[in-house]
């Protein structure tokens, strides 16, 4: 009987902590801002920033030394691409360079004097393109467009030539082999479609960590103000306190996660081919791990405000460790290991694969299990730390 009563008491304690935590969250503007403001506003804002997805019509200058019908056609082809538009013609390379220095153009096409003559005499004509390297996204767009231009132009000129030299044109003007590029996950090659799914996971973790730390900072401030006693503390075992808090954050994050992971990608037509049940199940260990990770970081927070100083800067570090920008296979084993102990690393990997590549939980078993391991690990760590703090501090109950 005694055991049942203990279990019953434990649950009662859990619910009391849960209720207390709810009150704390909803009476603190700072925490509300992190728990609601961040997950609701940031994803929308970020998507709006990157929503144009691709860079179009990058202005370029043309230096045409050839001044022939063929060279003008080449310039027109550049102008006709989605990637580039001809901003201006310049008489010399130096003039074009001035345009570039003034940030009016980001590329210069130089067509040599002998361009048309070489084409006519069946030689390879070499033209030069100078690309400004200020942003890699522009360079990438231009580079892929240049490859297409060369292929198109090649096919076009080849057909003319074949006709000209009187070969049986049938079967000649087509290439013996075709090639076909397929873009997986992000078929438009858009920047927003690539970055947003990962950013959503980072927002989930960081908003939880910020909120949890700020609540804990508030607890520490109350302790200091009241001579080592927190008047709002609930007298409950450590495990019940942790579980009660976790339940409170879960209750808050269920609707938020529904908005972020289910509605937001639909609102902005981001890649969204995953099965909702798969990623909702996936996000459960993600939230658990983030909450316990937050409670762990909270140990280093002295007051409510220093939360921001401690946590905000880490966002960029976690972003890079997750492999979203710089892939994990190119990291040294040391940084891979450091990334392994951050929930976002696995959250980003698993969620992108489920959401954008249509994977399922069975295929994402590594990130899924890792998230549970992290949740268990940080949970245990926090449990031990809190227990030790209670032994030392007596009434110190968060």
């Amino acid at each position: 009987m005694n055991v049942f009563k203990k279990i019953g008491d434990w649950w009662t304690d859990t619910f009391r902590v849960w209720r207390r935590e709810f009150k704390l969250v909803f009476s603190d503007v700072g925490v509300l801002m992190f728990f609601f403001g961040l997950p609701l506003a940031y994803p929308v804002l970020y998507t709006l920033i990157y929503n144009p997805e691709v860079v179009n019509d990058i202005p370029i200058a043309v230096v045409d030394h050839s001044r022939t019908a063929a060279s003008r056609e080449l310039a027109r082809m550049f102008d006709a691409t989605q990637a580039m538009k001809v901003y201006d013609y310049a008489p010399t390379l130096a003039d074009a360079r001035v345009l570039m220095n003034e940030h009016k153009v980001y590329g210069i096409l130089e067509i040599p004097t002998d361009y048309s003559r070489k084409l006519g005499s069946n030689e390879q004509a070499v033209t030069t393109f100078f690309c400004e390297m200020n942003l890699l996204l522009r360079y990438r767009t231009i580079l892929l467009a240049l490859a297409d231009i060369q292929l198109d132009l090649g096919a076009k000129i080849q057909t003319q030539k074949v006709d000209m030299i009187g070969l049986p044109a049938q079967g000649m003007n087509q290439s013996p082999v075709n090639s076909d590029a397929v873009m997986l996950g992000d078929p438009t090659q858009g920047f927003c479609s690539f970055i947003m799914p990962g950013v959503l996971m980072i927002v989930i973790q960081q908003s939880l960590v910020l909120g949890v730390c700020m609540l804990f900072g508030g607890h520490r401030e109350r302790l200091r103000r009241n001579g080592g006693v927190d008047p709002l503390a609930v007298d409950a075992p450590v495990s019940a306190t942790m579980f009660g808090k976790l339940m409170c954050y879960f209750a808050i994050y269920v609707p938020l996660v529904f908005f972020m992971l289910y509605l937001l990608p639909d609102m902005f037509s981001l890649p969204h081919i995953g099965d909702p049940w798969q990623y909702f199940s996936f996000v459960i260990p993600m939230i658990t791990a983030s909450v316990f990770f937050g409670m762990f970081i909270a140990q280093f927070v002295r007051d409510r405000e220093s939360t921001m100083l401690v946590v905000v800067g880490t966002t960029m570090i976690f972003l890079f460790l997750s492999g979203l920008t710089w892939p994990r296979f190119a990291m040294s084993p040391f940084w891979q290991l450091v990334g392994d102990i951050v929930p976002t690393t696995w959250g980003v990997e698993g969620f992108i694969n489920i959401n954008s590549a249509g994977s399922d939980l069975a295929e994402q078993r590594t990130p899924y299990t890792m998230l549970w391991i992290l949740a268990a690990g940080y949970g245990l760590l926090v449990y031990v730390l809190r227990r030790l703090a209670r032994v030392k501090g007596g009434a110190n109950r968060a």
């Binding site: 990157y50 231009i149 082999v177 076909d180 397929v182 997986l184 960029m316």
Partner: protein, 386 residues
């Protein structure tokens, strides 16, 4: 002169009173510098692990695989027999894409049936996906071209002529100032300094507003003889000096020891960094003047600091953003520093072209000085609103 000296003394004392200042001003920026530089040491994340599905098993398909594995961009991690298996590899993140050589490829190619080579790149991971795409494309184009030449030679076109016919126009691309296409140059330089700028925003706001929260702002003002400008100078000048020193060390690490492109005189970047420090302090002060409350001003500084990473357009250009959002990018001091970096350090063009950016950085502190009276009002009457 006495009050200025006293204020400076007090500023130095409060600066060393909290561990978090020392941490965020010196240790974290330098540690972050090490982190970014060490993480992206190789410059480009290549070779990218890819897969290949060879359903043909012919001499041509083997040659293709050899080309793929000798490419600088790709590394064949797995050779699968089925399309489904290769797709699974992509979904689980084992590979970043795969190259598919269909059944009877060689036979059809020789027989003139136009078989299709397909390559699949996973662009949810943008950078490695793009690398895989480029690697695949190069191999595909070379193969297609090579087979076209063979075909022409077969029907009697001279070989040199058929080469010119297959690719009559070559566009040679010159990547100005970064022919290695080193990705690290952009990411490290911009992210380190953007993080640095964010810390300046946070610390400035924190050091000013902690005085209001703790109720010591009256005493602070009294030390400065009730002169807000002296008070601010006393508090912020010691910080400015620390920031300059740390920023200088970061620049030396980047440009001298890591050989980041610096195609102009080093002073251009040093001055830019110094101006950016003052501009960020000014920007933060403006926020403090508008909302003289520790919590709110810190929240604003943090949120704006994080937004700088996107809105300063260090990866996605302002010209491609929606106009109403793109224009916001110019309220961030870091934006001008980034523009100076690309003009002066990367492209090494004349100072004349970046003149406005330097001037813009000067506007922030001037604006802050003109708003300082608002802060004084609150400092004389410190109320902590939790």
């Amino acid at each position: 002169m006495g009050i200025l000296k006293e204020s400076l003394k007090r500023g130095c004392r409060t600066l060393v009173s909290r561990k978090i200042y020392v941490g965020l001003m010196i240790i974290v920026p330098l540690a972050a510098t090490f982190f970014f530089l060490n993480l992206m040491d190789s410059g480009l994340p290549v070779p990218v692990p890819v897969g290949v599905v060879d359903q043909d098993h012919s001499s041509i398909s083997r040659q293709l695989i050899r080309m793929l594995s000798s490419s600088q961009l790709t590394e064949i991690k797995v050779e699968e027999e089925s399309f489904n298996k290769a797709m699974e590899d992509v979904r689980t993140g084992k590979t970043m894409g795969f190259f598919l050589i269909p059944t009877n490829f060689q036979e059809k190619a020789i027989g003139g049936e136009q078989p299709t080579l397909s390559y699949y790149s996973n662009l949810t991971y943008y950078v490695p996906g793009t690398m895989a795409l480029r690697g695949f494309k190069t191999v595909a184009v070379t193969t297609v071209g090579g087979m076209a030449v063979t075909k022409m030679v077969k029907i009697g076109v001279p070989e040199d002529m058929s080469m010119a016919m297959v690719q009559p126009v070559v566009v040679q691309t010159n990547a100005i100032a970064n022919p290695w296409m080193n990705y690290n140059y952009y990411l490290s330089a911009s992210f380190i300094f953007c993080l640095f700028a964010m810390f300046i925003l946070q610390i400035t706001a924190a050091s000013v507003c902690y005085e209001i929260k703790d109720g010591t702002s009256v005493q602070w003002l009294k030390t400065a003889g009730n002169n807000i400008y002296v008070a601010l100078a006393g508090k912020l000048v010691p910080q400015t000096i620390v920031w300059w020193a740390v920023g200088g060390v970061i620049e030396v690490i980047l440009f001298k020891f890591n050989h980041f492109p610096l195609n102009n005189h080093a002073m251009h970047m040093i001055v830019a960094m110094m101006l950016m420090v003052i501009a960020c302090q000014g920007f933060s002060l403006i926020i403090c003047c508008a909302v003289p409350n520790l919590r709110l001003s810190l929240v604003l500084c943090s949120l704006l600091g994080i937004l700088t990473f996107s809105l300063a357009a260090i990866s996605f250009p302002v010209s491609a953003m929606y106009g109403s959002l793109g224009i916001i990018s110019y309220i961030f001091p870091f934006r001008y520093f980034f523009l100076i970096f690309s003009d002066q350090a990367l492209n090494g063009i004349a100072l004349y072209y970046s003149r406005y950016y330097y001037v813009a950085l000067l506007v922030f502190p001037l604006l802050a000085i003109s708003m300082a009276w608002m802060l004084k009002k609150r400092m004389l009457n410190p109320v902590y609103v939790p």
